[in-house]
């Protein structure tokens, strides 16, 4: 307990944690402080998340209601018209954008996980000439601002004939230096005894990787796949400039075009935004622990 009080920056929170002297002053007062603190925390949390809630509320409003003054928190009437319009109107193939985003994000994250874990294994577990150089160069690119890659990669993608196609969204961003670093750190944490035993049993490196290392690495692989999926699903700049036709857009770039076409149709825009948010919010709710662990590990042991 005393350790935790050290982290409090304000005097009142230190008191609330309960120093030994205060504890005797009465459990009742402490309970009240707790209750008030929870109410405050709750109100703050609700305020913090209220923009998202209002987006969802608006997506169930009519066009007029969405533009009404004063803004209301309860749709009147409650309608799914915005969704119906946006899903069926010819200029806004949201279902196609959705499947484009899904295909791209799934294939991209598979590619990241496969290439990064393959590359990380020898970097973590084998000694060979050039290992230090390879690892340093890969890590050094973490410091390269992605901006210098935009123009040349556009030309490379153009020369490969990938402009205006989903491949341009899936492959060029898949060389994840973070992924290699992340998987290498994980492999380093695995005990070597199992590999030694497998080597003695006559397994080769490939068999060890597939049957010993990968099964032990499921949590790390899942975390990396999830982070790659989220990044790809949400990517904006690259698809905005690389995809041109209405039917090859991803959801974010499609929403970008929707905005310029329907500047005032906030009911439609919010419905589109909700559709783009549902998969990531669901992933977040169910796999929160992996996402947060992945993010926190991305900053550690650097």
């Amino acid at each position: 307990m005393t350790a935790l009080t050290g982290l409090a920056t304000e005097a009142d929170t230190a008191v609330a944690t309960g120093r030994p002297s205060d504890a005797r002053a009465g459990g009742r007062r402490r309970t009240w402080v707790q209750v008030i603190r929870y109410i405050l925390l709750g109100v703050l949390a609700l305020l913090y998340i209220s923009p998202v809630l209002f987006m969802i509320v608006t997506s169930f409003k009519t066009r007029a209601d969405a533009a009404g003054i004063p803004p209301t928190w309860i749709p009147d009437p409650f309608t799914t018209q915005a969704y119906e319009t946006i899903l069926t109107a010819s200029g806004t193939p949201v279902l196609i954008w959705f499947s484009n985003s899904l295909i791209a994000a799934v294939l991209h994250s598979l590619l990241v996980v496969v290439t990064a874990s393959l590359a990380a294994y020898p970097l973590a577990r084998m000694t060979f000439r050039g290992r230090g150089v390879v690892f340093s160069v890969v890590i050094a690119t973490l410091l390269i601002p992605p901006v210098i890659l935009i123009i040349p990669n556009y030309l490379i993608v153009g020369n490969l004939g990938w402009l205006n196609s989903l491949i341009a969204i899936i492959i060029p961003t898949a060389a994840s230096a973070f992924g290699v670093f992340f998987m290498r750190q994980f492999f380093l944490s695995l005990p070597t005894e199992l590999e030694e035993a497998a080597l003695l049993d006559g397994a080769n490196r490939w068999q060890i990787f597939l049957r010993v290392i990968l099964p032990l690495s499921k949590p790390a692989l899942a975390t990396l796949a999830l982070l790659a999926f989220l990044t790809n699903w949400n990517d904006f700049l690259w698809p905005v400039y690389v995809l041109f036709s209405a039917d090859v857009q991803t959801l974010p770039s499609g929403l970008g075009t929707l905005q310029s076409a329907n500047a005032v149709r906030y009911d439609l825009l919010m419905a589109g935004a909700v559709i783009a948010s549902v998969p990531v919010l669901l992933l977040f709710v169910f796999l929160q622990r992996f996402i947060i662990e992945g993010v926190s590990r991305s900053g550690l042991k650097g």
Partner: protein
Amino acid sequence: MSSQTPVGSETRVGASVVEAPTAASVARSSHRPGQSPTRPKRFTPWLFLLPYLLLFTVFVIVPSVFGIWISLHEWDYTLPNKPFVGAENYTDLFDPGSVNAGSFWTSMRATGIFTLFSVPLLLVLPLLVALLMNRRFPGRNFFRAVYFAPYVLGVAVVGLMWRYLLDNNIGLVNFYLGVFGLPDETAWTTSLPAAWVALVGVTVWWTLGFNSVIYLAALQDIPAELYEAAAVDGANSWQQFRHVTLPGLRPILTFVTINTLIASANMFGQSYIITQGAPGRETRTAIYQIAETGLRNFQMGDAAAMSYVLTLFLMMISVIVFWLFREKKEKPLTSGGTK
């Protein structure tokens, strides 16, 4: 893939007699104890690395050099001729009379303003949230999730949502400002300095959880004994924060600072969706200007030169940050705090 990997004796052994450890492999491992799992055949590691290195070479190494080549040419994607112009694309950026110089430096200033105001907020506010969330209380995970949740939404969603909320006529922000008797007709997306307040505010709201989570992980790595020792020595909360928490955070602080700086300097989507660069081009950021110059107007030589100038600025700032956060001589209270 598996047909490529088997090279050498290990494979042959594995393929023929799997269950019986052969004399050869036993002998090898006893010959060099502890070495055998780390000594592969010569090409094995490279076969594992191959798919990644292929992607890495084509889309990271080649473009970072190719970009320099492009920047030295008058490079229009749509035209057949790409004449060599030497450093002209660079010198043009420093020549007030040239076409691109004005808009480029306006965009650099926009990036600078945004970075200057967003980075300190994104360093301090997440730390406060992390300190709060680091205390043990029931429901802590729920509150952590609430503050992190916006980060999983993409910039397109966040941008559209806030464009609506910030609408000067029908938006919630002006409405509630009015309710509390504050000025309620601010043009958040089309006037200065309101647009900067909006862009910085939205970004802080959106990404605060990311830095909080990283801080939180670092806070939990600080050994509790250090706080106990400090408390025994009579340190109060502030002194404990100053002499235990902050030094314990130092290694991670460099990472968070550089990471936040680079993210802020690459701000694009918020400006593209919420303000569309307005008013005028005042909130059009450097990366926005580079993308428009190179990928809309196809002046790729100029755009490549701009991207290297921006990168140079970023590198200089990163070096300054590393220098500021360099390991200083340890003070008595903090020694051992990071190990």
